[in-house]
Subunit: 262 residues, 4 copies
Amino acid sequence: MKDVQNSADNRGIAIQRVGIRDAHIPLQIKTKAGDYQQVLANISFTVSLPMEYKGTHMSRFQEILNKWTSKPIAEPEMADILQEAMERLQAERADIRIEFKYFVDRVAPVSQYKSVLDVDCLFDGSLNKNSPLQFILGVKVPYTSLCPCSKEISEYGAHNQRGIMNVQVSFDDFHECILIEDLVLLMEQQASCQVYPLLKREDEKFVTEKAYDNPKFVEDILRDGVLALRKLPGLKWFSLDCDNFESIHNHSAYASHEEYVE
Amino acid sequence: MKDVQNSADNRGIAIQRVGIRDAHIPLQIKTKAGDYQQVLANISFTVSLPMEYKGTHMSRFQEILNKWTSKPIAEPEMADILQEAMERLQAERADIRIEFKYFVDRVAPVSQYKSVLDVDCLFDGSLNKNSPLQFILGVKVPYTSLCPCSKEISEYGAHNQRGIMNVQVSFDDFHECILIEDLVLLMEQQASCQVYPLLKREDEKFVTEKAYDNPKFVEDILRDGVLALRKLPGLKWFSLDCDNFESIHNHSAYASHEEYVE
Amino acid sequence: MKDVQNSADNRGIAIQRVGIRDAHIPLQIKTKAGDYQQVLANISFTVSLPMEYKGTHMSRFQEILNKWTSKPIAEPEMADILQEAMERLQAERADIRIEFKYFVDRVAPVSQYKSVLDVDCLFDGSLNKNSPLQFILGVKVPYTSLCPCSKEISEYGAHNQRGIMNVQVSFDDFHECILIEDLVLLMEQQASCQVYPLLKREDEKFVTEKAYDNPKFVEDILRDGVLALRKLPGLKWFSLDCDNFESIHNHSAYASHEEYVE
Amino acid sequence: MKDVQNSADNRGIAIQRVGIRDAHIPLQIKTKAGDYQQVLANISFTVSLPMEYKGTHMSRFQEILNKWTSKPIAEPEMADILQEAMERLQAERADIRIEFKYFVDRVAPVSQYKSVLDVDCLFDGSLNKNSPLQFILGVKVPYTSLCPCSKEISEYGAHNQRGIMNVQVSFDDFHECILIEDLVLLMEQQASCQVYPLLKREDEKFVTEKAYDNPKFVEDILRDGVLALRKLPGLKWFSLDCDNFESIHNHSAYASHEEYVE
């Protein structure tokens, strides 16, 4: 049977990325506790294609992924997956983007009731023939923000709302990379208050007063987030954006920042 | 050229709905002011298919819709569109569902600054050979809700958030059907406060204090909404659901209710 | 601390549904093989609220759900969850809607390569004080459709595309309820061809020719689906809709049908 | 009333972008024909914030946008909008991202029936104190792709599907910038066939055979797209990604490429 993909191409264009997108696979993500969490992953997985070839072999991406449905993954395994893609598809470069919901343990601040909070996460890896793995960890952390202006100018009350911080980080060396659980904890402390799936009445009093005691503009949350991130040892690069779903508008207040750290 | 759709079918199944879905068309919606508003519509448009025929003629739905891109539409025109579909496709029944964003004028409560608020709307029409048009008007109204429990138990402050009311109404007679602009105004008055695209500082003080003076659970907003709807003259049926995007959780507080009105 | 929710309400409106929505929880779904599959669930969970009470107790929904994160669930457990909600929230009725992606095993038709196909599923349960559990199982099955008209009128080729069947079924008795795995298999056989995550070249030849040998309009897939569903023993009700993402248009061809089975 | 936003900040962090997001506004986009098209825009609009200030003035973004609801917009007006934001918010930089659905005229290839095709578009503009407007035009063009491998190895037929090309372009000088209508036409010619909202039977024969005569991998569509883009006079940069919604899989085949043109 003819291998059309393998036939020659004379347009002279080396393609930067070709592969599969929106593929859903069950994966296991390594946890801080030392075991793993079963997740539902949405995956983009590509390789570069030299100008000589007409096409890549799409089925091999699925073959590689299938082998990883029962082996826990963290940053080092990302390099293994990409290495295998480069070899099996004879490519100079491979990229993978894995998005998944991850649950972190949460304890209500007063009642101590336990629950699990869902956080959208990202593992983004790139491997080139001549350089080590480039890895980005991303988390989208929900939070409460309370408006300082509204508090200041009003006789009582202050508008507040849920927001989402989208933070992505990259480290010089994978041994230094922060864990999902720690990054979530670090970032939500920069908001007016954390959010919880389960709160009893004594907790609701606590979070209401904490947010009121801790008013922050989207600019404040962003700035405090930047300060927190800059202190992470070994951090090479980060981007942070904060999206406040304003309770008094039908749009968001928004701030973003990106930085290469010295 | 053979008309495969017109060939006979012997499975004995009359199909309830067949047609097109997720078709995007520019339409003109009649306004309260007497002119029209240009909108971007997402349309599902179907007819019933007798058991004798293999298929319907899909291109005719687009032909009918194309004629309506420059003629203002309200409830009466829905009947015209469906009547044409029944005739051209020789069907006993036709259904159309038109979803669009509509802008309503908004004036800030103190500064009187003007802006336009986006509201997701629905025109849902069904026509049968032997009965008049069934028409449902739907609007999704954003609002502010402020939690009475949080206000009661906290020393200061109270959590609040944006919410969305999805209200759908059907009237005995189309002359009685409420207008989009009026339905939005009616429903948002049932919340702790309205939302506005544009607020100056004096307005922000006003809405913050108004919401604090007017705490409502999702149950309160639903119940006050039900009371308001029951008073509409000629109302035959309604459904209402309220979705509060809790600022202290990563999920919604939710209430819904549906009723045939005597 | 005052229990505001428990205070009296005099508006005289019993609310049909109040609770939480868009709550994400890890759950375990029982499989055909006898064990369970870990899934990421999106949940709506409500109870009815008598007219005498101002509000329900939102935290209890999360408390109930948290207990179910490590106990495998199928139809009988849905009744247990709802029963607990009715008791703990003193309600006459409880409803839960659980949506999750589920993976079914797939073997390529010629090469016999194995992979897992993602299918969106629904468990929808309602319990009343005076009647047994009402349970709906839903699956969204992807498929290939190939147009009979295009095949008939063209010298060569025929347009084809991916489609999604959204089928929901309810049975008289839960012992008769079909399993997810079996419902997926049954429904996809009604299309021009099944879809597979992983196909080698010999498989691609097979599915291409199978679809061409088996042209079906969206009406045909719907009708064959209806015939297949009617044969299920104990089936009480079903709804089926088919959505073909036409490769020659920027909209879908669509058909739907709903039936109470004798 | 105190202006909290104007108070001093001593964290020493100049914020790159702060403003509003997901704001919906009706706008008028200039057309090739010389008039304008009314669209529904989703807008992100931000300015930079010096380290000295605590916050920006969010209401001014809406004030500026409101003035533009009835003045037709193209690239030059983007600079005016950003210039006004820089002045009114005393910023060194302003950014705006406007996303909207735009309709292009379409004539069926044989029957000559007319319809309008919806295309998702992007106007992305950035202005700095010391440099001219950076402007990116983006369009997402739907198309048909037919698989060369499937055609080659099968006795008859070939799998095909809808795909979307996301192309973004930036020019040295705004006088050279291509128009939406022309960019759509140029890009869809690189696929196996165009898509149409309205096709009669003679047109369906035409597009079926045209796609079969013109098989292209996602790699082919990308490469031909790159060649077409490189020929645009004055083009400075482009990115292109192609997403084939495979009819034989439940995921996409995908290729992307980005280039600064000499």
